[in-house]
Symmetry: C2
Subunit: 193 residues, 2 copies
């Protein structure tokens, strides 16, 4: 690859990064519908025409935004077995990234009326689920396939529910929640044998 080529690639990636960063700010500030292509252009200091050179439409910008959020989440759980750290994270309602959680909430709200956004959300969930399933399978090889999926689904429910509830004041003491979550995870990963 020539230097001119790699320079162009670097500029291309930088522009994409700028557009995604602008999209995140727009959606957080004004919601999904408040973030129009023209507001996005103004926020990223590009013309609408320039943005279309990088993304075919707003849905594709959202798809890339979600892909990056998923990549962060997948990297965060890599090598971390659920039973060890999750009870802590849940009891103290710790977020990996608050902004990511709020952006996913916007995407979820929009998914109920926009087929393309629903597909983006479904793909993201499938990717995170399969990744978590692999991690849990490696850590608890004794779990059989159906039980493994059920365990990962309950973990996903707990993570998504906790992220949602972070929007309102916590009503139970974290120190009281911790042993209950620990017991719950212990039970999830034990086999009946």
């Amino acid at each position: 690859m020539t230097t001119a080529h790699s320079d162009r690639d670097a500029r291309h990636h930088q522009r994409q990064d700028e557009i995604i960063a602008a999209a995140r700010r727009c959606v957080r500030r004004a919601g999904f519908h408040g973030a129009s292509m023209s507001q996005l252009a103004s926020e990223s200091q590009l013309s609408v025409g320039q943005i279309y050179r990088y993304f075919a439409n707003k849905e594709e910008i959202v798809a890339e935004m979600v892909r990056r959020i998923v990549a962060t989440r997948v990297a965060a759980i890599e090598g971390n077995t659920a039973a060890e750290r999750l009870p802590q994270l849940l009891a103290w309602r710790q977020a990996l990234n608050d902004d990511d959680d709020l952006l996913m909430l916007e995407v979820a709200a929009e998914a109920s009326r926009n087929r393309r956004i629903a597909d983006i959300l479904a793909d993201a969930d499938r990717l995170m689920f399969d990744n978590a399933r692999r991690e849990v399978a490696a850590a608890y090889p004794h779990l059989e396939a159906a039980r493994l999926s059920a365990c990962v689904e309950i973990i996903a429910v707990l993570i998504d529910g906790t992220a949602f509830r972070r929007l309102t004041p916590q009503k139970a003491a974290a120190a009281q929640l911790l042993p209950l979550y620990q017991q719950l995870f212990h039970q999830l990963f034990e086999t009946d044998k």
Copy 2:
């Protein structure tokens, strides 16, 4: 109260119902920001001025919409002890009302940038939590106060997480989830003694 008075009251309530119904349709169709007062007026076949006679602003319409959703939810769990029906509802991801869940998702997304909406969401959550806490306390009088709050919080996490995950395809068999949820609730409501 004269007949003229009660007629006027009945008309007043009917108008309020119509405005709330129109608001629900607008928010579902176009999101929180897509539901402007003028769209609301058009949807409810009233003038913007008429709507202001019933509600001071859009936030007050949302507050009333949320109050009604909360009332439905509170009525639904009244007399139903969690440990008996909840594992079924969670495993099969049954919704009390899909539209209510989606509207609450819109409200939650908006809560992160609108103080008044955040307060409405916090009040709703407080009311549902306290109500659920009373129900669980009546059914399991042996639970001490802090443990009771922690149990109700975990139930709330499971309910909110399940509602959120209803937006993407289910990845574990309900029949496999059911015994895990039953075991989990059994454990939650048992004391250590």
